[in-house]
Subunit: 410 residues, 2 copies
Amino acid sequence: MIEISFALELIKQNVRPLPSERVSLLNAAGRTLSADVVSDVDSPPHDKSLMDGFAVRAVDAAISGAKLSIIETVLAGKSPSLPLTAGTATRIMTGAPLPVGADAVVILESTDFDPNQPSGSVTIHEGVSLGKHIMRKADSMRSGETVLQAGTMIRPHHLGILAEVGAASVSVYQRPTISILATGDELVPATDFPAKAQIRNSNGPLLSSMAARVADKVIDLGIARDHIDDLRSKIQKGLKSDILILTGGVSAGMADLVPRVLADCGVLQVFHKVSIKPGKPVWFGVRQNGDARPPTLVFGLPGNPVSTLVCFEVFVVGACQLLAGASAATRNMSCAVLLEAHLVRGGRPTYWPVSLKSTDDGRVGVRPLLWRGSSDLRCLAEADAFAFFPPRESNYQPGEIVSLLNLPVR
Amino acid sequence: MIEISFALELIKQNVRPLPSERVSLLNAAGRTLSADVVSDVDSPPHDKSLMDGFAVRAVDAAISGAKLSIIETVLAGKSPSLPLTAGTATRIMTGAPLPVGADAVVILESTDFDPNQPSGSVTIHEGVSLGKHIMRKADSMRSGETVLQAGTMIRPHHLGILAEVGAASVSVYQRPTISILATGDELVPATDFPAKAQIRNSNGPLLSSMAARVADKVIDLGIARDHIDDLRSKIQKGLKSDILILTGGVSAGMADLVPRVLADCGVLQVFHKVSIKPGKPVWFGVRQNGDARPPTLVFGLPGNPVSTLVCFEVFVVGACQLLAGASAATRNMSCAVLLEAHLVRGGRPTYWPVSLKSTDDGRVGVRPLLWRGSSDLRCLAEADAFAFFPPRESNYQPGEIVSLLNLPVR
């Protein structure tokens, strides 16, 4: 039995990153940049008005009652043709380029201007100060400037920035293909009604959905029976993926054929059993694929669904990040404050399901859920995260700070 | 100019919820349940072993050195055929049904049993207590019990529960189709290099990506020029969706034809201008579609991209939730602690971009970003959320608590 940190180190040593690829802007959300994104434009491209109104010389429009001659109207997308001189104003729309000589904008609402009765002059109700409602060329970004760095995970709001700098496609890391195989004679598909001593395969849909957010493609291989031939043929299919995840068949039982069949298929064991609760029987191995292709990573996760979920988040997500070019796996960890007392027993580091509650003083509060162990999946209906407790018996009190392994929202 | 809360109330009054539909289990993540999900099984379906080992009568195995006769082996998926009697043990695998009479399990590692040299008896190294390593029938859930309630947003880890209870398909609310139309003579597509006085259309990709998470389908209608005919034909296309979002053309400029053309197309204005910063010019209207189809909601968002983003999150996301059957719009709000002083000026409630930092004492810390106003999209490269400041001038100090409008991760 090894420590979590050592298991993560062993996984890291066996990962060879996937190459990068170009994807179009609209397919970039959720991907990780493999190269810096540099702007090819100044933003704004010119000194511009931030409001609809009149471009003026602040010195002419400093006081209420000032009356100015309108010399031109500039719409967005057009350029002014006349410079401002003393006593003049240019009617201007939001975003339009300022005329030469202008150093402030008076908003339409601060004038007597009636667009239905335009006249040759405008009177200002409220004086402006120098620089009011204008933005100078390149104030937001300069051509040649890096706007998003390699390693950034692209979020929806980043797509606006990518569009602004003309990144119609971006260079991102490839994501792994993941095959999922549930094993066990007791399993039936979710669509069937279980006979006596049977249960439904919950791990397949659970892992498929968890994996979808980090994988290029998820292949659910269904259920393999506890027989060598069925296991072998399905494992061989799964080894065509970058990652093969099996569930069940890795603990100490006589039906636990999985490690044996994996060895038959050329998968070398790297570790078996980690000091983690739930999830102790977790198995990890690697099948070399020659120089042309990175090795296939094989995870044997315990059959109990909560163990499988914790092991997926702790071990597999990090492996996906490393495959996708990250220099280190980063777990979605944060801190939170316990809202209720919680007794933790013993020997292994423990992940305990909790629900979150944002408190009025800016804290994340967690409430430990009533959880009956690694096969009690129903308890996760209310779970937002797992709280992490180090390996010692302790009666944690409300107000103590714990680390969280957050569960994905979608 | 109306208050944010009144604008939200007006939106709510004009929404007619979309019907529900059934989707298959694997397509359920991210959808909202429109009916309770009830289990059709007990879990576990029988008293079961939580470990690989021996089912025993605790009274026979309370002390180290006890020797028991092995009467049977039960694999997962099989049922025991013999009841336990005094002095006997049944070899049992994780998840398998307990034999009648068993009330504890001794784990394999606490015995002298060697699977390669099975004999008729087993000696126990470590005594067990009553109930050890067993789970009683229906301890996790009962047949007939509600496991996920209507209104629950289905997260990846919920798919395991749905599979366990045989919910091969679930009843969820339909999500809206959303059309997006950017307007303005100054815009060019992200793929083009802008000429003088032009900028790229960043709002289209920005909103497409933001909308993808709440919509059934997003249709990017591209750019409409500031001309009545082009606007009208593209608006008419967009009105076939449940929601049409326009950007630009709603402030006070003479090129702001949008409200006029919308009226021509039968869209009635509900409100124009809200006391919010950024985003004041936001426009909302409704086109009735007769009894057969809920009305189309039309949002005219300001052309500046940060205004558009804030208005989308504050007004459009809530409308999508209401369309998708939620009884009230819930914004993704939480509290956080300011890490730096921040001066807020004035008259309107203000959303200011911030980056988040989880602190060691369980707090969410926020750092206000250097932001040059509603057209400065580049500043959002580092943004995780907007901090909300109420409408008063104030110099906020480090340690003060602020509300957050969180930006989606993907």
